[in-house]
Structure formats: structure tokens, C-alpha cells
């Protein structure tokens, strides 16, 4: 499996952060779907097949905590990565609520670490990647 086989959705309200995701992941070959909040994410999930969701924890409109119960119900197999500027034991909180989160990344985000994690989750082997 290689990057271009996968579609990643990013839920992020900040335009400049959106730009970074787009820039970093399109270059690697992923198909990227960008939404600015949870409600848009749900709308897009109904429209197209998404392999992984990277979501900001806090967004105006529908935020992640409102989004999760719906994801758990409608898309139980969709891997979710949370990006947050808040510190604390979020993983425990999510587990307590029965949400299966693959990883939590704190801001400031190190994009290369996020890339590594996504490859691991999607089982992408670097050896398969064509050298640029």
C-alpha cells in the first residue's frame, strides 16, 4: 500500500494550518479532504470514502467532542487522530467515554511525527514509496 491509495480528512478551522496539512500531505501523494468543523466533516464523510481523520479538538461550530459520538456510531472503523493545543490526560477521558482514538498530538505540531503515525496506522511501508 502506498500514500496515494489513501484519503485523509483534516478538520481544522485555521486557514494557515489547513495550508500546511495540504502542502505536507498532498506532496506525499495522499488525497486530502479539508473541512473547517465537525458538521462539514460529517457531510463530507457521507459523500466520499475517507481512510483516516485528523481533527482539531476545538473548532467553532461542531467541535470534536460533539462529533465523536456520531463517528463512534456511524463510522466505528474510521481511525481518528486528535490534534490539540490543550494539555491534560485527554486519552483517559476519551477512553472513559468509549472513543477509540489512535493518537493525540499536541500543538505545536511536528508534521513529520504526524506523518510517521499516519503511515503506521495505515500500514504504509516506506520501501514501497517511489523515490522522488
Amino acid at each position: 500500500m502506498k500514500c496515494s491509495d489513501f484519503t485523509i480528512m483534516f478538520a481544522e478551522d485555521d486557514p494557515l494550518s489547513q495550508k500546511v496539512y495540504e502542502r505536507a500531505f498532498v506532496k506525499d501523494g495522499y488525497k486530502v479532504v479539508m473541512v473547517e468543523h465537525g458538521a462539514r466533516a460529517l457531510a463530507e464523510l457521507r459523500e466520499q470514502k475517507v481512510d483516516l481523520l485528523v481533527t482539531d479538538l476545538q473548532m467553532p461550530g461542531m467541535n470534536t467532542l460533539e462529533l465523536f459520538p456520531i463517528l463512534k456510531n456511524d463510522y466505528p472503523r474510521l481511525p481518528v487522530i486528535v490534534v490539540t493545543g490543550h494539555y491534560g490526560n485527554l486519552m483517559e477521558d476519551f477512553k472513559a467515554k468509549g472513543f477509540d482514538i489512535k493518537a493525540i498530538f499536541n500543538k505545536p505540531l511536528v508534521v513529520s511525527e504526524l506523518k510517521e503515525k499516519i503511515k503506521k496506522i495505515l500500514k504504509i511501508d516506506d520501501m514501497d514509496e517511489p523515490k522522488k
Partner: protein, 654 residues
């Protein structure tokens, strides 16, 4: 008649009868005592006093009835009188019944039949003495209470201190009351408060009654100031009206209040810190990511140059990308700088500095500071009055009050439904005051706890969420500037907190006389776009030509227009925006500021609803489609600005 009256000695028998009656009926005890102390005679009162019969009396010696302690006194009494010196003595006497009386004896020597006798009149002063003692004690008690009272007391009579207690002596760093008495009270008041106090005293003397509490500073002997809270009353003292001042040393209380303010500030900073971290980390994320990209691109270009040897189109394209990334990095850096600047303004140390403040600006700064805490939970609606007079306070402290109220409002609202949760902020003025009102749609405050919400440490928030100091500190800060904090609340519907502050009259007068700033000549343009990078680009484009204001939403734009009404020559607005779009903005402007809507220029991304399409057909306003020609944008805006300025000049001239 006088001549006919015989001398007493000449008619002894008659005079003896008169004497007898006089002595027997006298109210005081009368004794005749021989020089050896044996009684010769006692009148009715005398025998009644000693509790014996007349027959018994003449058998007894005076000294038998005198208490042993007073024997010496009695002996000297007799001795002195016998030497011819009349004598007054107080001697304690034990009666036959064992009762003890204090008797005042007035004694003289008389000569009867050649025999020298002591005649003494005794008055029972036991009761009087006891009453005197009680009076003396109670006076001493009162004096003691006043002297030792923790509050300072001064009596000022005709401009001079006529009485002072120990507390005020200590407060002033003096050692004795005498150092105060006779001096002018103004010798002990810090110079800047002398006029204030003298006005109060003058009013009190003229109108009587009492003056309410005020705070001012006394001046200690060593020159250091002391904070006092003072109340003065016009009272009668030695039969004339004097000023009684009661002063409480509040230096310590002020320090405690200061500490509480600081604690609350730290707690508020704590609450904000999480949000600030988020706000900073967001731009930091893309700053760092873009740096990684640039690093990669430099490597790419280097590799490309090594392989091809020429800086060709590929390299140029990469460089253009890098330029874009550097622009984003700059934006991120600026954003972080602004957040830090806001935080610095809030926590800065020169807290006692009182400055002339624009209320709207201070509220705006507080909104910006608490935005990341509030924005997740609620919408903010602003309704700011224009041309508000300035006020005098410390902007950091006022910000602290407003941030507290904003955080409280957001915490009062459940969930984060931004359609339902709303904080409406309104500013305005009324008779000499300006006010700002924070109205939330939260849970409201139950009536039974409403009176307690300004108490220190009172909180209904879970441990760790609130210190319970917030509102009490707000109240205290506002009181310091003569302001007030009012609350109205309906359970289930929300609460409204209103801050009232006095206008800075001196500044208002100065503003009225000042000439409007010259920058107006060049014209002002407001740019509205919800996409920050577009907004920045447009602002940069226009910066060379006009003063540029920017708004990220229609609501923000309305706020700015209201604040700057009459000073905006052109508005460049995106048509597609969440909440209030360009069309709504147009309608709002037309309703509130008729005429200004003609100066709106729209920008569109080319895609919009039927409704907007129809709307655009009905108005004559220019509509620029993205991507636009910057020169065209400049020209259109310059045209609108020039026309607006021409109209204003025409109006001014006419």
C-alpha cells in the same frame, strides 16, 4: 430697728433658747468636744449619726468612734483647732451599729465659761463621695476607651487640633498626644489631599451633620504616607461646635485588597493560559511546519542546481513557493507577537498608574484576551456607543474586571452551542457616567445567593475552576475608581453585569477643544474578509494609499463602523462570509448609517447563492471578482474615498 435689737451676749437666756432650737433642728451633726476628746454635747443629728443616746454620748470619747486608720488625723484635727486654727477634715467614723460613714468635719475652737471647747459640724459625705468615685471611674473608663480605641480620633476646633487619642498618635508615628494638640490637622495630611479635606471640613461647618467616608493619605512624622478611611461629624464639645474626625488606618487592608487583586489576576491568567497556549501553538505549528518545508525546498533547489547547473523555471517555482511560506511564517510570528502583547498589557506591573482610557478599546482588548476561552462557548455581540467620553483608571485593572466578567459569562453557559449561547456587550453613557454591560444567556443566578456573589471566596464553581475572588475583586477595583458593579439575573435566562464608571471631565473638556487628527485627510478604508490571508493581502495592498481598518466578520465590521462613524470613506467587503454576509452587512449599514452603504465595494469569489445574485442586481455598488486586478481595486477605492471626502469638505464649507 437695728438699734433696738440687743446684743446676743446681753440676752443670753433668749439666745440660749434660739441656739438650742438652731442646733437641735440643724440638718448636720453638731458636736462639742473637750480637748481630751470627751463629748460635751451632740445635737439630734449627732446622736442619730453615732447611734447612741444623748446620755450615753457625754460618757464617750470622740476617738472611740474614729477608725484606727484615721486616729492620727483626728488627733491633729483636735490639736490644730485647740491652737486656734479652724479645720476641715474628712474622717471615717464607725457608729455604734458598726456602720462606717465618711464625715466631713468643720471645726472651730470656742470658749464657754473660760473652758476651750472644740465645736465641729459633721456632714455625712459617704454617698456623695461614692457618687463622685463612680463618676470619676466612668469618666476614666470613657477616656480610656477613647484613648485606646483602635480608630484614630481627632477633635478640630477653629482649625487646631484640640483632642487626639493614642491610636492617631501611633498612626502618625508620634509618641504623645501633646505633639498633636494645638497644631493644624493639615500638617499631618499629604499635600495632594489637603484641598479635598479642607473642602469637606468647610462644608461640614456650614451644613452640619456628618461627612461620608472618604479615603485619603495622612503624612507620618517620617514623611511616609498612611492610607486612612475617615468620617467626620460636627459635634458639641465644651459648648461649641467642633469637627470630630474618626480615622481608620487601612494601609493593611489596602495591602490585602491589593494581594487579593493580584491573586485573582494570577487565577485569571491561569484560566487564560490554557487558551493562550492554544492560540500561540496554532500559529507556532504552521510556522514550524513551513520552516521544515523551506528547509526541504532549499535542499531541492541545491540538488537541482548541482544536477542542472542553471537556476531554471523549477527553481524559480520553488522560490515562489518559499516566498509564500515565508509570508505565512511572518503572519504566524505576528499573531504570536500580538497575543504576547495582549498578555503583557494585562499583567504589566505599573498597576497604580492611572491613565486616560477609552472604554470601548479596553473592552475590546479584554475580548481579545479572553476570546480563546469564550469563542468555543458563545458568540459575542458588540453594541458599542460612539464618541464615548474617556475615563480615568488603570487599563490593566479594568481589563481584569472585563475579562473576569467575560469568563464568568462564558462559564455560565452550558455546552458550546453558539446559536444559543451569546454574550451581548453594550457600552454607553448617562449623566456623567459611562457603562459597559455584559449580558449572557446562561443559567442565571438563584435569588438566594445573589446577595453573596460579591463576597470574597464565594464561588459555586468546582474546585480549581474559580477562586471565588473574581467578583469581589472586580467590585473592589471598581470602587477604587468610584465605579460600581451591578447585577441582574433571571434563573434559566441569564445574567447581566453592568460596570458604571465616572467620566474623566478634565479630559472631556480637553477633547472638545482639540482639533481632529490630520490623518482624516487621506481617508479611511475598512476591509472585511473572513479569510485572514485575503484580509492581510488586501490591507497590505491598500496600506500605501489610505488608513486601513480590518474586520474578520460582518459583526466585527459593524463594531468598527459604529466606533468610527463619520470617519470611514470606503468599505471593501467580501460577500461570502459566515454569520453576517456582505449582503447583511449592506442592509445593516443602510439601516444604521444611511448613505454609508453606497460606499461599500464588494469582493466575490464568483460563487454565490441566488439570493445574493438577485441582491447584487438591485444595487449600483461595484463588485470585484477574485482574482482581481490590484490596480483596478485601488482605482475604484480611490474614487469612492475622494468622492466621500469631497462631500465632507463641501458640507464643512457650507
Amino acid at each position: 430697728m437695728k438699734k433696738q435689737l440687743p446684743p446676743l451676749e446681753n440676752d443670753w437666756r433668749l439666745s440660749e433658747g434660739v441656739f438650742h432650737t438652731l442646733t437641735e433642728e440643724a440638718n448636720d451633726a453638731i458636736f462639742l468636744i473637750k480637748s481630751d476628746g470627751v463629748f460635751l454635747y451632740g445635737n439630734r443629728q449627732a446622736v442619730a449619726l453615732l447611734g447612741i443616746s444623748k446620755e450615753e454620748l457625754v460618757k464617750r470619747n470622740y476617738t472611740e468612734f474614729v477608725l484606727p486608720e484615721d486616729h492620727k488625723l483626728a488627733a491633729s484635727q483636735i490639736k490644730l483647732v485647740m491652737e486656734g486654727k479652724p479645720n476641715n477634715t474628712e474622717i471615717r467614723v464607725r457608729t455604734n451599729n458598726g456602720e462606717i460613714f465618711l464625715i466631713h468635719f468643720s471645726s472651730v475652737k470656742i470658749v464657754v465659761d473660760g473652758q476651750e471647747i472644740l465645736m465641729t459640724i459633721g456632714k455625712d459625705i459617704t454617698v456623695r463621695k461614692a457618687a463622685e468615685a463612680v463618676l470619676r471611674n466612668s469618666e476614666e473608663n470613657l477616656r480610656g476607651i477613647i484613648r485606646e480605641m483602635p480608630d484614630g480620633i481627632l477633635v478640630v476646633d477653629s482649625g487646631k487640633i484640640s483632642f487626639a487619642n493614642l491610636s492617631i498618635v501611633r498612626t502618625l508615628g508620634l509618641s504623645a498626644v501633646e505633639e498633636l494638640v494645638g497644631r493644624s490637622p493639615f500638617d499631618f495630611i499629604q499635600p495632594e489631599y489637603r484641598t479635598l479635606v479642607s473642602e469637606r471640613i468647610a462644608r461640614l461647618i456650614k451644613e452640619g451633620g456628618s461627612n461620608p467616608n472618604i479615603r485619603f493619605k495622612l503624612q507620618r512624622q517620617d514623611g511616609n504616607p498612611v492610607d486612612v478611611e475617615s468620617r467626620s461629624i460636627l459635634v458639641q464639645f465644651d459648648g461649641k461646635p467642633v469637627v470630630l474626625a474618626i480615622m481608620k488606618d487601612i494601609t493593611l487592608r489596602n495591602q490585602m485588597e491589593h494581594q487579593a487583586t493580584l491573586n485573582d489576576k494570577l487565577a485569571t491568567v491561569g484560566t487564560l493560559a490554557a487558551g493562550v497556549a492554544h492560540e500561540v501553538n496554532n500559529p507556532l505549528s504552521y510556522v514550524l511546519a513551513n520552516l521544515v518545508f523551506i528547509n526541504e525546498q532549499i535542499e531541492d533547489v541545491k540538488r537541482h542546481l548541482q544536477m542542472n547547473g542553471t537556476f531554471d523555471e523549477t527553481c524559480q517555482k520553488t522560490f515562489a513557493e518559499m516566498k509564500g511560506e515565508l509570508a505565512d511564517i511572518t503572519k504566524g510570528g505576528e499573531k504570536i507577537r500580538d497575543i504576547v502583547k495582549g498578555l503583557k498589557a494585562f499583567v504589566r506591573t505599573n498597576e497604580d498608574e492611572v491613565e486616560s482610557i477609552d472604554l470601548n478599546q479596553t473592552v475590546e482588548a479584554a475580548i481579545n484576551m479572553s476570546f480563546h476561552v469564550v469563542k468555543q462557548k458563545a458568540r459575542i455581540e458588540k453594541d458599542f456607543a460612539v464618541d464615548l467620553p474617556r475615563l480615568k483608571a488603570n487599563s490593566g485593572k479594568l481589563q481584569q474586571v472585563f475579562i473576569n466578567l467575560l469568563i464568568n459569562a462564558s462559564q455560565a453557559m452550558a455546552g458550546n452551542n453558539r446559536d444559543k449561547n451569546k454574550i451581548s456587550i453594550r457600552t454607553g453613557r448617562y449623566d456623567g457616567m459611562v457603562f459597559v454591560e455584559f449580558k449572557d444567556t446562561g443559567v442565571g443566578i438563584p435569588e438566594n445567593i445573589l446577595p453573596r456573589i460579591f463576597d470574597p471566596f464565594f464561588t459555586t464553581k468546582p474546585i480549581g475552576v474559580g477562586t471565588g475572588l473574581g467578583l469581589s475583586v472586580c467590585n473592589e477595583i471598581l470602587r477604587h475608581y468610584g465605579g460600581t458593579l451591578e447585577v441582574q439575573s433571571t434563573l434559566g435566562q441569564g445574567s447581566t453585569f453592568t460596570v458604571n464608571l465616572h467620566i474623566d471631565r478634565a479630559n472631556e473638556a480637553a477633547a472638545a477643544n482639540s482639533v481632529p487628527p490630520a490623518e482624516k485627510m487621506r481617508g479611511r478604508v475598512l476591509v472585511v474578509d473572513d479569510e485572514p490571508s485575503n484580509l492581510d493581502a488586501l490591507c497590505r495592498l491598500l496600506k500605501k494609499y489610505d488608513t486601513v481598518l480590518s474586520a474578520l466578520s460582518g459583526l466585527d465590521a459593524m463594531g468598527i463602523i459604529e466606533r468610527e462613524v463619520g470617519h470611514i470613506e470606503a468599505i471593501l467587503s467580501d460577500i461570502n462570509m459566515p454569520d453576517m454576509n456582505g449582503m447583511d452587512l449592506y442592509k445593516n449599514v443602510a439601516r444604521k448609517f444611511p448613505g454609508l452603504e453606497k460606499r461599500i465595494i464588494f469582493i466575490t469569489g464568483g460563487v454565490f447563492s441566488e439570493e445574493i445574485k438577485d441582491f447584487l442586481k438591485t444595487i449600483p455598488n461595484a463588485c470585484l471578482e477574485k482574482p482581481f486586478n490590484f490596480e483596478e481595486v485601488r482605482q475604484i477605492i480611490a474614487g469612492v474615498v475622494d468622492e466621500s471626502l469631497k462631500n465632507q469638505d463641501g458640507k464643512n464649507a457650507g
